[in-house]
Structure formats: C-alpha cells, structure tokens
C-alpha cells in the first residue's frame, strides 16, 4: 500500500459517518433495483420454464358441452398444434371445521391418453390411477390452507350428490399459478380450491360422457392466433361456446404478468431517485474534502506528485464510498429478494420459484451509479488537479457575499443577523443550496409514495367492500333458474334481504376494440350493489342500456351516450346494440351492469337469475352457512368478510412488507441527506462558528446560527418535496393502472404529515449531531486554521 493510499484510508476514517450516509443511500437505491429486477427475472424464468415443461396452452375456450368428436375438427384448424379437451366444473365443498361453504373448480384429467397440454406437476402422493374412484388431486394452495395430505378425505357435492373424496396427491398446474375463484381479484385459499379428477368419473357424475366443456390449444410456429380464435369461436357457437381467448386474457397468466408489470414500474422510478441523490451526496462530500485538503494538495504537488496522481487519489476516495454502497446494496437487495420470493409463494404456485439474482442489473446499476458519482465529482477533482501549489498554500480570500434579495423586502429590517447570515450563505452558493433543497425535496417526496400506495389500497377496499357491496354474502347457482329461486334464498335461515343477480358472458365491441367479460344484471331498486360516481354518490341502474366502469369505457373508447355492440357468449347467443347510459367508478376489474329485466328481455329468457346477494342476521349465521353447505343448486358462496379477512392475512401483509421496506429506505435517504447537509454546513462554517463561540456566544446561540440555514433549506424543500412526491406517486400509480386493478391517488393529510414529521426528525437529529460536534470543537485549533 502506498502512503497516499494510507492517507486515503485515514481520511475516510475521519469522514466515516458521512461516507456511510452516502453509501447507505446508494445501497437503498441499488437494493431496491436488485431486489425488484431479480424478482422479475425469477418470476419470468419460473413461468416460462413451467409453461414450456408442462406444455401450457396458448388458446383457451369454455363452452356448455360438445362431443369429443369435435376435437379432431378443432385440431384441423390451420395453425393448431395440439388440442386438449376437458371438463371443468364448480362444486361446493364441506370442510370440517370451516363454518362457511367452500368451493372448488374440479378439472378432468384424461383416463388413458397422456395429458397433452397443461400437464400437472405432482407435489406429493400419486397421480390418479386408471379406474380409481372418488379420488382427487388437490391444488397446493388449498391443500396447504387446510393441511390436506395424500390420504385425507373431503366432502363435495357433485351434481347434487354428496361424495367423500380421497386426496390421492397434491398437484400444481400452469393453468392455476394463481388459484383464485373465477372473476375474483384476490385469492382465498380457504374457501376456494382447484381439484382434478379422472375424466370418466367426473363425466359420469355430470352426464357429460363423451363430451367436454373446456378446450385448450397450442399453436404451430407462425400460426395466426387471431385466426385460430375466430375459427374456434365459430366452431363452438353451436355448443354454447363462451368465447376463446389467448394467454394474455388468461386469468392466472394476467395476475403474474400484472405483478411483473408492477415490479417493472417500481424497479425504475424509485431507485433512480435514490441513486441520483447518492450521486449528489458524493459530489457534496468530495467537494468539501477537496476544499479542506487544498493545502495538502498543494504540498503533494510541491513535492512532485503529478496532477493525475492527485486526481486518481480523489477518484479512489469516491470509489471507496461507491464500493461500500454497491456491496451493501447488492447484499441487501439479495436478502430482501429471498424474503419476498417466499412471500410470492402465498400467491403464485410454481413447481420451483428460485430467487435468481439479476446480475446484469446488479453490475449495471452499480456501474451506472458509480459512473454518475464519478461524473459528479469529475469537475471537483479537475479543480483539485488544476490548483497551482503556490495558490493552494495561501489561505483563501474571504468569500464574497451580497445582501440577500429577501433583505430588500419589508421583512428585511426585522431579520436577525443569524437569519441574514443564513440567507446570504444560501444566496452565495445558489447551486449547492439548490441541490441540497432538491435532495431534501426528493427525500420528502419519496416518503409520500409508500403511504400513497397504502392509502390507495385502503380506499379501493373500502370503496369495493363498503360502498359498492352491501351484502353479507353472494351466492351463485349451478344453472340459471327462474326468479322464484330467490324466494328459496329468502327462506334460508337468517336471510334478511335478498336481491337477484344474473351474470352472462358477453363480448362488447365498439369499432375495432372489444372486450369479453361478465355483464351483471341487477334489480332496478336494488340496494346491495351500488353503482357509484367518482364522488361516491350512488346512481340508479338505468332502465335501458348499460353502465360501464370508467376503465372499461376507456378500454373500449366509448363515452356516455355511445353505442356498444353486445354479443352474448352463452345460452341463446343473442346480439344487440346497447347505449352506454352511464359510467361507474370502480377499481378492480372491468365491469358492466344493466337492469336485470332489460337483460332478461335481451336474452329472451323470461325472469331468470343465476345468483343472489343476501344480507344475513348475525344470530343465524351458522345456521345459514350449514344450510348453504347442503344446498345442491348453489355453486359458490362468497362471504364478504371472509374475503376481507383473507385479504388482510395475505395481500395486506405482503403489501405491508413492501411498504415497510420502501418506507425504511425512504427514511434512510431522508436521514442520509439531512445528516450530510448538516455535516457539510458545519464543516464549511466551522471557523465562523468557532469565532462566535470565542466572542462569547453561547453554544445554543452558535448552534442557532448553524441550524438556521438548514431550517431554511428544509422548510423550502418540504412543499416542493410533497408536490414532487404527489406527482411521482400519481405517475407510479398511473403506470400500474391495469384492467385488473387500479389504485386511485389518495393523498391524505396524514401521509403529508408523516413525510413532514420524518423530515423534521431527520433534520433535527442531524442538526443535533452537528451541534454536539460543534460543542466539542477545539476553539483555538479552529481559529488558527486559515480556512
């Protein structure tokens, strides 16, 4: 080690806390980038490997029932590589110890032929043997939620018959990476599961022998997906086809893609802010170091060190700080990534989800942030290199000051000298003051974002569960039935209110844009599902036309008063033109409502319903649930509170974890910036402050002078920071605005107050540290130094 390097190490030791603050801010940015980019890589790799290995289909379609002979015809469609027919049905379960009824989607597995597509991955137990009876495979998420092991039994109602089913094994399928009930935005593994049963057995139970009600396809290379979907749709029309779709509309695929998309958004904006702040801080620390070492630079040069040796010395200084930051960031990002991959296991079921470090990101981000830091200090180092030794050895001339602009206002006369000193200092170094304010603003701003996420989610949940849905449970019928079926629900124990509901799969088309979804029919004077505007005011369901969620209208490019073409994808495949009568605010999925009677008229079906929303008296709750468990006509029960509970235990926890990480990082940045600014301010004004102490000013009075400048900058940064944070939060939330979920920008006073509080605390603590250092200052020594 050269003596110059030894000097470097000792210099670093003297500014260790400042260097650490810079390294920590950089580490936070890098950790976040490494964590998110690695998670993206992990999810994408796990998904594509899983899809390839288990031959996940590319086109999917549901239908009422078609003969298996149709499969050959489907296989002949130009561009189809493989076809996998099957049966999928909803069944009600009776789980001992679970008060409410649970549901499962039961899928068929071929008896003899090998499953061509969507192959299962067996986690434990064995596959279903030929001729096995009353045996099922259970999806892992549901099995885990109920502690089901191979050999356990479970009661299910299959086509009105209660059967005890034996669990042969626990399995996964690329179709159900995200195991959620159809149409639900959130998983509820307690009350919904995925099962597999032998084709023969399930076909027998539902009188579907020789038929199928779902089909999956893969495409030949170069095939036109659009063409295949159109042909398949045409072919399935006579068999009650509900519309074919590709992977990008596959519910499980969408959820994984949405998660990746959200990660992509947050893997960039947030860390970028952190890394820019770190670059600025490095520049500030290095500028100060070079300024303080003027004389040393001069002496080195006087003794024959070249400009380059001096320059390299200070670049090594930066390199040391950046290396610590990169190391901490990489390790932190990997540790957090491992922790979050575990969390993803709650939502996404892959045969393997390994944490794969995105080395490219790690080295790229470390390289980029180092480069930014180096560019930031290049100018300062260049100044050091150019400093003529003779000039550097002389004390610098006093800094040139001017009265501050604010002093010329009418407040000027009333300003104390310490305020004047602070203002003039700010004005003399406008660039440094500006950058410090910007850095503090960024810190204040990024503190707003995690809480804006939290508040947005809270708002959506309250909006969805308290303002839109007023029922206790919603129930679905196995088959659409006459309106009097509602009377049966009314007579169930504890039912206070019952409102009918009918959902039909439709395709909306407006010009070249189209979407497939469930159109919900609601009663005219219903109260349990409310249609709300942006101000949360309820609107009546119009007697004719459809009400679209704002997002759906945006997706279809229609406005209120526009016309939509509706093609019903089930039952009697009617078509109609419907006016968009109103727009509704909502945040989950894309929804369309219409008056139930008008819907039935459109379907030419008479008064039919396929579900109901109910409110239940508290005292009769268990009787109601018991009755539902034994109701053969019900295919599903969704309990609002159970969904909310499930959300709290899963999604809320994971969001909470992310929010904690982000808040922690934002707080580290806030403290880092405030601390560094305070230390630099102290270092710059050490001599001036020591003079004041010598002249008889008390520690508190001198501390006040030091504090004033930081307080001015911090106060100026707060409104800018809060505005910046709001904009950034808006931008981030806007970019995660998907058809599955949208988060409104909810900016609460509490959120702003939190940001202000953390910034105030960070500034106060940093100033306290600086003042403590100031109090320990060797007055005589500080005075003797010419600068």
């Amino acid at each position: 080690m050269t003596h110059l390097d030894r000097k470097l190490l000792r210099d670093l030791r003297t500014i260790k806390s400042q260097a650490l603050a810079v390294a920590l801010v950089m580490a936070c940015g890098l950790a976040m980038m490494v964590m998110t980019r690695s998670l993206i890589r992990s999810l994408e790799t796990a998904r594509s490997e899983y899809y390839a290995r288990n031959r996940f289909a590319e086109v999917f379609a549901g239908l009422k029932r078609a003969p298996l002979s149709l499969v050959d015809e489907i296989a002949r469609i130009d561009g189809v590589a493989a076809v996998q027919p099957g049966i999928a049905l909803q069944v009600t379960l009776d789980i001992p110890g679970l008060p409410e009824p649970a549901r499962a989607e039961i899928n068929s597995v071929p008896d003899r032929a090998v499953q061509q597509l969507n192959r299962l991955h067996l986690r434990s137990g064995h596959l279903l043997g030929l001729g096995s009876r009353h045996e099922i495979l259970v999806g892992e998420a549901f099995a885990e939620a109920h502690g089901l092991q191979p050999g356990a039994t479970i009661s299910a109602i299959l086509n009105g018959r209660k059967l005890a089913l034996r669990v042969a094994g626990v399995a996964l399928s690329p179709e159900y990476i995200f195991e959620s009930p159809p149409g639900a935005a959130l998983p509820d593994n307690r009350t919904f599961g995925i099962f597999w049963m032998r084709y023969e057995e399930i076909a027998e139970a539902y009188s579907l022998k020789g038929g199928f009600n779902k089909v999956s396809l893969t495409l030949a290379p170069g095939a036109s997906e659009k063409h295949v979907i159109a042909e398949l749709d045409r072919m399935l029309v006579p068999y009650g086809g509900t519309g074919a779709f590709d992977r990008k509309d596959h519910p499980s695929h969408i959820r994984v893609s949405d998660e990746i998309r959200i990660l992509q958004v947050i893997s960039f904006g947030f860390p970028l802010v952190f890394l820019s702040v770190a670059a600025f801080m490095t520049n500030a620390v290095m500028s100060r170091q070079i300024h303080l070492q003027r004389e040393q630079i001069a002496i080195l040069k006087a003794f024959g060190f070249t400009d380059w040796q001096v320059g390299l010395h200070f670049f090594k200084f930066t390199l040391a700080i950046v290396s610590v930051g990169a190391l901490l960031g990489a390790v932190g990002g990997m540790l957090l990534g491992y922790r979050l991959v575990d969390m993803y296991h709650l939502f996404f079921r892959f045969p393997r989800l390994d944490f794969l470090v995105s080395w490219g990101t790690l080295f790229g981000a470390a390289g980029a942030s180092s480069a930014t830091a180096f560019v930031g200090v290049a100018g300062v180092v260049k100044r050091a290199m150019r400093l003529p030794p003779a000039q550097a050895m002389r004390p610098e001339a006093p800094a040139d000051y001017r009265p501050a602009l604010l002093e010329r206002t009418r407040f000027g006369a009333r300003m104390t000298l310490s305020v004047r000193m602070a203002l003039r200092n700010v004005q003399r170094k406008p660039w440094q003051s500006f950058l410090t304010t910007v850095a503090l603003s960024l810190a204040a701003g990024i503190l707003v974002i995690p809480n804006a996420f939290r508040d947005g989610i809270r708002y959506v949940l309250d909006f969805q569960w308290d303002l839109i849905q007023h029922e206790t449970v919603s129930v679905r019928l196995v088959e659409p039935g006459p309106a009097r079926a509602l009377e049966d629900f009314r007579h169930l124990p504890g039912v206070v209110t019952a409102e009918p509901m009918r959902t039909v799969p439709v395709e909306f088309r407006a010009g070249s844009r189209s979407r497939r979804l469930g159109l919900v029919g609601l009663p005219a004077n219903g109260d349990l599902t409310r249609i709300l505007d942006a101000q949360e005011h309820p609107k009546p369901i119009p007697a004719h036309g459809v009400v679209l969620s704002r997002k759906l209208a945006e997706v279809l490019g229609v406005e209120r008063g526009g016309l939509l073409h509706v093609r019903v994808l089930a039952e009697k495949r009617t078509e109609a033109w419907l006016p968009v009568t109103d727009l509704a605010e909502d945040f989950a999925g894309i929804i369309a409502y219409m008056d139930l009677e008008a819907m039935n008229r459109m379907l030419h079906s008479g008064d039919e319903i396929n579900g109901a929303r109910l409110t239940i008296a508290g005292g009769s709750w268990s009787d109601f649930l018991e009755a539902m468990k034994n109701s053969p006509r019900t295919s599903g029960v969704v309990i609002k509170e159970a969904m909310r509970d499930s959300f709290r235990k899963t999604t809320a926890e994971s969001i909470g974890l992310l929010q904690t990480i982000y808040s922690l990082f934002a707080t580290v940045v806030a403290f880092g910036i405030a601390y560094n600014s305070a230390r630099i301010s102290l270092s710059e004004r050490q001599r001036e402050l020591a003079t004041l102490r010598v002249l008889g000013f008390s520690q508190a009075e001198v501390g006040g002078v030091l504090v004033m400048e930081m307080v001015i900058l911090a106060a100026a940064s707060l409104p800018v920071g809060l505005a910046f944070g709001s904009l950034l939060a808006g931008g981030i939330l806007h970019s995660v605005n998907t058809e599955t979920v949208r988060l409104p920008l909810v900016l609460t006073g509490a959120n702003y107050a939190y940001s202000v509080l953390v910034m105030t605390l960070a500034t106060t603590l940093s100033l306290w540290f600086a003042c403590r250092k100031l109090n320990r200052l060797d007055l005589v020594g500080a005075l003797k130094a010419p600068e």
């Binding site: 006093p398 004047r420 001599r687 003079t691 004041l692 002249l695 008889g696 005075l783």
Partner: protein, 246 residues
C-alpha cells in the same frame, strides 16, 4: 520622539489579573508538552502589555488562558477575584462575552456580514456596548461600514476585527499577532487603532507578537521562553506607533 500617555497606568492600582503558578500541560507521560510552567503575573487596568517569545514559548497558551479559551492544568488565574481556573464552560462563555475583546491574526470576521453587522453582532448581546458606528469610527472605518469582508483590504478587515472587539467596551483586549498577516504600513494603522483604544478607553491590552519593535509602544514587555516568564521590562515611555522602528 513623542511620549504617549503620561498618565500611564501603574502597579499602584489593584491588578485586573492575578496569575500564580499557572501551568498548562498538554498530554501526559513522555508525550507531555509543558506549554506553561509556573507563570506568576499581575496585569493592571489600562496597561498595554506586549508578550514576546519564540514559537512554542507559550505566548498563545497564556493569552488563551487569559481570554477564557482554555483552562490551566494547575495554578491560579484570577480576574477581579473571579477564579477562571475553576470556571465551567458556561462561566467562561459569560466571561468572554462580558469582559474580553479578541483580535486574531487572521481577523476571523464573519464573511456573510458587513463590517457594521460584524460589529453589531456583538453589540446585540453585550451589556453596555457603544454603537457599531462609533466603534467603526474609532478605527477610522466609517466610510467602509457597509462593505463585506471580501470587499475590504487585510488592514481594514483587521480594523473591523478591532472595532468588533472593543464595541462592547471590554476591560481586556487580547490581540494574537494582530499584524502577523499584514504589511508594515497596514500593520501601523492597525497598531495605531489598538493604541488609541487603549488610551481612550483605558482597556487593558495584551498583544502577542514576534516583532520586538512593537514592544516600544507598550507599558510593559513580558518575555516567555519554554513556557516560563523569563523577562519583564517596563518601558519608561511608550512610543507612538508612527515612531516605531520596524
């Protein structure tokens, strides 16, 4: 030759400072540096004292102790019966604030304040100050009062420092190499200001210098060597600054 201050203060008055056995040691063991070793000294009101000595002789340490910037390791240091050797930080701050005016080699002005504001900074907190304008007038800087330090020459900056030091009407003015960073002509204007203050306000003034020629403007010359007071000479007559032989 002109004789200054016929009514030169004398030891007939009670001393302002009584210094007995003043010792200051930095560090301990073999590395101990004995900056002051048993210094005995009385300083009287209105006196102008010059402290001479080579580098490391203990001049600055003595001045720092007299000014309440440092405390002795042992010995007695009394100002008007106030035991500075026993005072805590708060007490020393009060002492510096109320009693002492400092002038430093490198001026130590606040660069962000104008000349007048540098002085006003002190008059704002002093008990019975003169107006900043009067203080600047005493050092002949009335015309430059609204200039910032960067706009003043070295001599002017040092005169602002003197104005700042005397604006609170201190009983003691301590000057550490006040002309050390100045050329001869500027040095003379600065010393002239110091002498005027001493004469007109009757402030006990202690000047540290390497320049033995300055000694002739004082009432008493103290010489320090290796931390000990090795010489004490009373000038029968003080010379006016303009008559000093540089």
């Amino acid at each position: 030759m002109c004789v200054v201050a016929a009514d030169s203060p004398s030891s007939a008055q009670d001393p302002l400072f009584v210094v007995r056995g003043l010792t200051k040691t930095y560090g301990d063991g073999e590395a101990a540096v004995h900056a002051l070793v048993g210094v005995d000294l009385d300083l009287f009101p209105g006196e102008l004292v010059v402290l001479l000595g080579a580098s490391g002789s203990g001049k600055s340490t003595l001045l720092n102790n007299l000014g309440g910037l440092d405390t002795p390791t042992s010995g007695k240091l009394n100002y008007r019966g106030w035991s500075l050797d026993e005072a805590d930080q708060e007490g020393l701050t009060r002492y510096r604030r109320d009693v002492v005016g400092f002038v430093f080699q490198f001026y130590n002005l606040i660069p962000s304040l104008t000349a007048r504001e540098n002085v006003a900074l002190i008059t704002e907190v002093a008990a019975d100050p003169m107006s900043p304008d009067d203080a600047l007038a005493l050092v002949g800087l009335t015309d430059r009062r609204n200039h910032f330090p960067a706009q003043l020459s070295g001599g002017e900056q040092q005169r602002v420092a003197i104005a700042r030091a005397i604006a609170k009407r201190p009983e003691v003015l301590l000057c550490d190499e006040p002309t050390g960073a100045l050329d001869i002509h500027t040095g003379i204007t600065v010393l002239d200001a110091v002498q005027r203050i001493n004469r007109e306000l009757g402030t006990l003034t202690v000047i540290i210098t390497h320049n033995a020629a300055i000694a002739a403007m004082s009432d008493r010359v103290l010489t320090l060597s290796d931390g000990r007071l090795v010489g004490q000479k009373k000038n029968p007559q003080r010379l006016a600054v303009q008559e000093l032989q540089w």
